[in-house]
């Protein structure tokens, strides 16, 4: 089997060290109203590197980091990477059992915590819990020898598995370097004068590029605390600190929509949409607020290292499907195919499952060969058998070779024998009621037939009026059985609409 091999011209860790050492007096982070220079960051990293060296052996191991919005947590993440070990983020807001499962499965012996507040973690006896608060040492980064090999793991991210047991996605330095090189070639014009947003939880992999990439160019990273009133803080930072680069989840825009008229962000050079499908109608209303920004929609599963396709928007000629932005073209180290249920490649324009191969692709789920086997498939890439990852995303390619995301395969349900895409119903509802998000959830009833339930934000009209509209536009089997008005759709920690929570509420 051919695995994409790739000689990297660019490696991430040396570029980060260069970025840190070349800008000692520039600000690296703005966290909780306080600036930290690159030199201060380097001293924190150096201090934590000493801790790691004291408590670990020669072989790489998983080191846990308790997530918090402070300089020590970010420095810990960097120190673990630079030490050649693998970092695993533990979120103190997660259920105890989830954190314990992660600790056990990754055999974490060392856990770094930035302060000594109570942890939502049962610390096993063998585990060393070290507080990194104010650990700081002379900057040793310039002489640091990076020991991580290509195949060593940089991090393991745990995503929610459909079975309830978290799935570990191990990403190697080879994956990360391939990502870095491809991301760099998107040609963002950024340097040490730029101010960049990091609004994502560290358990979500988009946070990794939001944190690591700015360091390579000497820019300043502006962070958002977890579990706060996020959208107002993001807006304040964007405006007050005149941020020039922001990667956001589109749901942020639906919160801010009532205030678009007041928002003016002329300094923003780039707005990245990520984490979920992006509604062009909503975004187009936001465009006047960001007159100088380039818009890029970035897509990718965690399994293929953060992002693997990019769509650069030209507001005059936007590619959309069901009102959602296209996800564009694959990164340069990646290859995509769209296949049907029989694993056959399908013609342009037809919908199927998106499969991706390339240097960013993980080797397999952490300690789960069975699950790994399920998601990989061997397909021919230019005549060569190649390992592809089945994304579970239904996509098609348009005439301009631009990939469109149509929804999750799981959101495709059979109703009375018809294949129904829930996103299509959501799109139709959006045309009637554009000022609030909506979600359609399918749930089998007592006799096992799928029934559709519509959750709708900010809707004050009569259910029957909306239902009549839907009956006009959609076949009857696609019309929801129930309509629920909801104040705001719940979001999960990645900023995506929490469909699981909605399903449970039924």
């Amino acid at each position: 089997m051919k695995i994409f091999t790739h000689m990297h011209k660019l490696n991430l860790l040396p570029e980060i060290i260069k970025g840190i050492c070349n800008h000692p007096d520039k600000n690296a982070f703005f966290i909780n109203d306080k600036y930290y220079t690159y030199n201060t960051l380097a001293e924190h990293i150096s201090g934590i590197l000493e801790i790691i060296e004291r408590h670990t052996g020669k072989n790489p191991q998983c080191i846990g980091i308790v997530e918090k919005d402070d300089i020590e947590t970010y420095a810990s993440l960097l120190a673990v990477l630079l030490s050649g070990n693998t970092y695993v983020i533990l979120n103190p807001h997660n259920p105890v059992s989830r954190n314990n499962t992660i600790i056990q499965s990754t055999d974490i012996q060392l856990l770094l915590q930035s302060d000594s507040t109570d942890l939502n973690i049962n610390v096993p006896k063998h585990l060393k819990l070290i507080c990194t608060e104010s650990s700081s040492s002379n900057n040793i980064l310039r002489d640091l020898k990076i020991s991580a090999k290509d195949e060593d793991l940089a991090y393991i991210i745990f995503t929610s598995g459909s079975t309830g047991i978290p799935k570990g996605v191990p990403i190697s330095h080879r994956n990360l370097n391939a990502f870095y090189e491809a991301y760099s070639s998107l040609d963002f014009d950024l340097n040490h004068n730029d101010r960049m947003l990091q609004m994502f939880d560290l358990c979500f992999d988009v946070s990794i590029v939001s944190t690591l990439y700015p360091l390579t160019v000497g820019a300043c990273i502006y962070t958002i605390p977890q579990n706060g009133v996020k959208y107002t803080q993001v807006y304040e930072l964007l405006e007050d600190k005149e941020l020039t680069f922001a990667a956001i989840a589109p749901s942020l825009l639906s919160y801010l929509q009532p205030y678009f008229e007041e928002i003016n962000l002329p300094y923003l050079k780039y707005l990245i949409l990520t984490a979920e499908a992006s509604n062009w109608n909503l975004l187009s209303q936001f465009v006047p607020c960001i007159p100088n920004a380039n818009l890029v929609n970035l897509y990718g599963p965690t399994e293929a290292t953060i992002y693997c396709t990019a769509y650069h928007l030209d507001p005059k000629n936007v590619h959309t499907y069901n009102g959602m932005l296209a996800i564009g073209k694959p990164f340069k180290s990646m290859h995509t195919l769209i296949i049907d249920d029989n694993l056959q490649i399908i013609p342009k324009g037809e919908k199927g499952e998106l499969c991706i191969a390339g240097a960013q692709l993980m080797e397999g789920y952490w300690k789960d060969p069975k699950k790994s086997k399920e998601v990989f498939v061997e397909l021919n890439c230019f005549g060569v058998p190649t390992r592809y990852y089945r994304t579970g995303d239904i996509c098609f390619m348009d005439e301009d070779d631009c990939i469109h995301y149509c929804g999750r395969k799981d959101y495709q349900v059979q109703i009375q024998g018809f294949r129904v895409e829930l996103n299509e119903i959501e799109h139709t509802v959006r045309q009637y009621h554009p000022n609030g998000s909506n979600v359609v959830i399918a749930k089998p009833n007592q006799i096992g037939n799928q029934e559709l339930h519509l959750f709708l934000e900010k809707y004050e009209g009569e259910d029957t009026v909306l239902m009549d509209y839907l009956k006009e536009k959609l076949p009857i089997y696609m019309c929801p059985k129930n309509i629920y008005g909801i104040n705001e759709l719940p979001l999960n920690s990645s900023g995506k609409i929490d469909r699981k929570k909605l399903l449970e509420s039924l």
């Binding site: 706060g228 009133v229 959208y231 107002t232 807006y235 205030y259 007041e262 705001e488 719940p490």
Partner: protein, 80 residues
Amino acid sequence: MELNQILEEVNSIFCKVLNNTAIVLTEISTAQDVDEWDSLNNIRLITEVEQHFNVKFKLREILKLKNVGELCLSVQKKIA
């Protein structure tokens, strides 16, 4: 309108929106004091307050509000 009166009405709006009749607001109440008062409900609360008193807040004003007392004062100024 008296501040007390405004507080009372704001209180009933919170109870309705957050679907919890046990909420008792004081002038120094903040989002930390009310479990259901999160980012998801914040805009909904503000919108309801706006509609009830027939006033309009700017995003900037909302950001500056430190507690329920300041919200009520702001409403009082707008309807004066």
